[in-house]
Symmetry: C2
């Protein structure tokens, strides 16, 4: 990695942390300059505009998410074991990543959902891509026989998504220590329900 690239990555690390607190749209080049000790013109040399910075920041945050949640799951057997690691790492990411303001995608979704433009489009694309990733992980668990063939994959992904959103909401706003466990129980029940269906259907199909 070149020195310029290293500097860029360090700036983006700081930018993601700041944006997690003040919001993606609340982050100014001036604040980022103050936090990194760089000049505004130095930052503009890396990012041509505030919008370019926002797009680069989203890309960086998505990469961090992949590194932290998806890559470690690849060590697990494809199917239910991998799906469970993905969900657990996703749920506990806030504690691990020490993003002071929580997930920037969740915050940016409500911040930008009615601000048409390239940033909103990019947030939508990342969120779609992540939902697709989750759907794929569930589909693998069906293929491998860990979940019932009749599992409604998109419905299950939607419900797991909701449990994680609720956990982050309760944890961050209420400071509720039970929030993660509530989400874990919900996920476990959903997965158990579709596993339970699996056996009799197989017998009937035979």
């Amino acid at each position: 990695m070149s020195k310029g690239e290293q500097t860029r990555q360090a700036i983006l690390d700081t930018a993601v942390r700041l944006a997690s607190e003040v919001g993606l749209d609340g982050l100014t080049i001036g604040e980022l300059a103050a936090a990194t000790g760089m000049s505004k013109s130095g930052l503009f040399a890396h990012f041509g505009s505030r919008e370019d910075l926002q797009l680069a920041l989203l890309h960086h945050a998505a990469q961090q998410f992949t590194d932290d949640v998806l890559l470690p799951s690849l060590k697990e057997k494809r199917g239910l074991p991998r799906l469970q690691v993905i969900i657990e790492r996703w749920l506990t990411r806030q504690q691990r990543s020490r993003l002071p303001g929580g997930c920037i995608f969740v915050a940016a979704s409500t911040e930008f959902d009615d601000k048409p433009g390239p940033v909103r489009d990019e947030i939508g694309r990342y969120q779609h891509r992540w939902r697709d990733g989750l759907i794929r992980a569930i589909a693998f668990a069906v293929e491998s026989g860990d979940l019932a063939p009749k599992t409604e994959v998109e419905q299950l992904a939607f419900e797991i998504y909701g449990l994680v959103l609720a956990a982050h909401h309760d944890e961050r706003l209420f400071g509720d220590r039970h929030a993660l466990d509530r989400a874990r129980r919900g996920v476990a029940q959903r997965l158990a329900a579709t596993r339970a269906q699996s056996k009799p259907r197989r017998a009937r199909a035979a």
Copy 2:
């Protein structure tokens, strides 16, 4: 209602609509003056400070939510029928209320969760109060025998909350027309699961 009070209510209607788009913290007295056709000093006569305006706006939005979601449910029989009306009206509130930017409490939760102060405290209180309202409605459905005595009331409220959050997320960010139906199916399954438990347990207890 006095003329002053009428003006205040009209200002707050506009303020809630604006805040739903630009965020609670994005709303300035200047923008609100432009949108209402009042002078800034006229607004300051009603709300002493920007923070006072934010607090009054939250109170107003909470009142709208109560009027739109809770009051109509009181016509239904206490128990499952009332609970179902509450959830359905909550889910479909965005279409009905025509808040251009969606629920201000959901947006304000992520916006303020790391901004300590009276506004954040107030958001937390309203969100807590609403969760308590949902818990109470579920508890009534247990009391009335519509749901199983062993229903885990707080867990169920948490899961329903997550389904509604996911629906609003998918509807607003993805423009997904299936989002509400996904949430409805999730809710119906959760309620059916606890109703199904009801019968055998009762037999065993007898």
